[in-house]
Amino acid sequence: MKVLVCVKQVAVLGDEVEFTEDERDVDPDYLDFALNEWDTYATEEALRIIEGAGSGEVVVVSVGDEDSEDALRRCLAMGADRGIRVEAEGRLDPIQVARALAEVVRAESPDLVFAGVQSSDSVQAATGGALAGLLELPSAAVVTKIELGDGKATVHRELEGGLVDVVEVDTPALLTIQTGINEPRYATLRAIKQAEQQEIDVRSPGDLGEPAYVMRKMFVPQKGEGAEMLDGSPAVVAQRIKEIVGERLT
């Protein structure tokens, strides 16, 4: 049993933002980085499947620059067996990322491929689906439960409003994993230290093709109709909230 998990090092924007000269992206000085929340659930699910099967391998793959190895190492510290990074610089669209991932999946031929439902920075919910399309794999999006059977899996897909769509998927398949499917384990300090020493297999991508879209400009969105900001001490803010609530509820 081999499960391949696609993981992304996501950018987290703090309280302030500045753009690059060409206004096509955020100045990287204003960004922090972390393993995408959805991908911790996907990695956990892969680990549980391998543990349940008694043997096998969890391979984590990320497309990005050297910094994205941090995301891979987080997963290695959780217990993943191997990390692969496909070298890439700059902003890629989800289809380009999928093209880079597809080469690795073809070379690894896993029994299952997992992606997160979405990345918290780009909110595309597209890379997993695009990868399934390129590989012509059966797939199911937004999965909250997996039961493996013989040559197929029964999965729960969570639709709008929480309605569950129970789907029978032929395997090998690609599933996009939703938060809440499990409780991701914490890596021990020792495991984190060990993961730092682990070798990451770095590969160069083939042709990633034409971009699916091109950035024109980025900007800070206008704030609604203008929220009235409540200034002052917490006591003053609380007093105003009480007044507003009182007015609106009568």
Binding site: V123, T127, G133, G180, Y213, I241
Partner: protein
């Protein structure tokens, strides 16, 4: 620009996103074709014959409910047959499977979670967010004659008014469905119905730990509010799903929605942005929740909660 809208339906009803997609299509000045892919598409087609639709094309398939391969193959054949400049689908759970797959396979221009459309001469421009909804961006699709866009729900009003669309059929070859719908399972009803409350005190990941929740439950009672939460608190098993506000939880419209420590992710906003009065408390001045709030305070939620506790004692 010619537009193909892919209708969505569930259990015999057209989903609201379909009429929103028809409104979005009007920005591109058409002609607009709406495709209905279903076992019995006739009745559903009647539900989308609104003003602005030029043609309704029905595709009869064996499957009653959405299945990923069926939609992927049917929409591929629709695009092949009609060559639309732009194909619009919802940024919905169902479309998340087949739409990116198709865009990747056909090499289409593509973007998801699009909430704005415009044109610069003959070029299509789409608007979407980056960096967790904190930054907006205009994107374009040079070199692509055909573009597939996934549209954010509730970004356009539903199209309405009786239309005069022509009807046609397309017979699609579906080679097989490798992910088959077997049944639906309903969400369990909870102890309280947050959709009927006039006043929701809604808390998010900003509350930090499970141990802190009791304090907000008490506060809600004192204030005469019902406690609701964002998804991460349900994911961690702190609260039942019936208390969750948002796309995969409940859509609420209370008179007052007081949000403490909620960032305002698109899937959360989808469930509460039409509330009467929205008050948001968040330490991050750039939090997206402020874009829908009527009142905002950039401050620590625990300090405000403590003061509210005293005021409502």
């Amino acid at each position: 620009m010619s537009v193909l809208v892919v209708a969505e339906h569930l259990r015999g009803q057209t989903r609201p996103i379909t009429l929103e997609l028809i409104s979005a299509a009007q920005e591109l000045e058409g002609p607009t074709t709406v495709a209905v892919i279903a076992k019995d598409p006739g009745a559903l087609a009647d539900q989308v014959g609104v003003t602005g639709v030029d043609e309704i094309v029905t595709v009869a398939v064996e499957q009653e409910e959405f299945e990923n391969d069926v939609y992927r193959e049917a929409v591929e054949q629709l695009i092949g047959d009609r060559s639309p400049a732009v194909t619009l689908v919802g940024f919905t759970v169902n479309s998340m499977g087949f739409a990116p797959a198709l865009a990747a396979k056909l090499g289409l221009g593509f973007a998801s979670d699009v909430f704005g459309l415009s044109r610069d001469g003959s070029d299509l421009i789409a608007e979407r967010s980056f960096y967790g909804s904190k930054v907006s961006a205009e994107i374009e699709f040079p070199g692509h004659d055909q573009v597939l866009l996934m549209i954010r729900p509730t970004s356009w009003p539903p199209a309405e008014g009786a239309g005069s669309a022509s009807r046609s059929e397309l017979s699609a070859t579906i080679s097989g469905s490798r992910a088959r719908h077997t049944e639906f399972q309903e969400v369990e009803a909870g102890d309280v119905d947050i959709t009927t409350a006039d006043f929701l005190l809604s808390v998010g990941r900003g509350v930090g730990e499970k141990e802190n929740l009791g304090q907000f439950d008490d506060l809600a009672q004192k204030m005469g509010a019902t406690l609701s939460v964002s998804r991460p608190l349900v994911d961690q098993g702190w609260m039942p799903n019936s208390r969750q506000v948002g796309q995969s939880g409940k859509t609420v419209k209370p008179k007052v929605y007081l949000a403490l420590g909620i960032s305002g992710a698109v899937q959360h906003l989808a469930g509460m942005k039409t509330s009467g009065t929205i008050i948001a408390v968040n330490t991050d001045p750039e939090a997206a929740i402020f874009s829908v709030a009527h009142y905002g305070a950039v401050t620590d939620l625990f300090e405000v909660a403590e003061e509210l506790d005293k005021l409502y004692a």
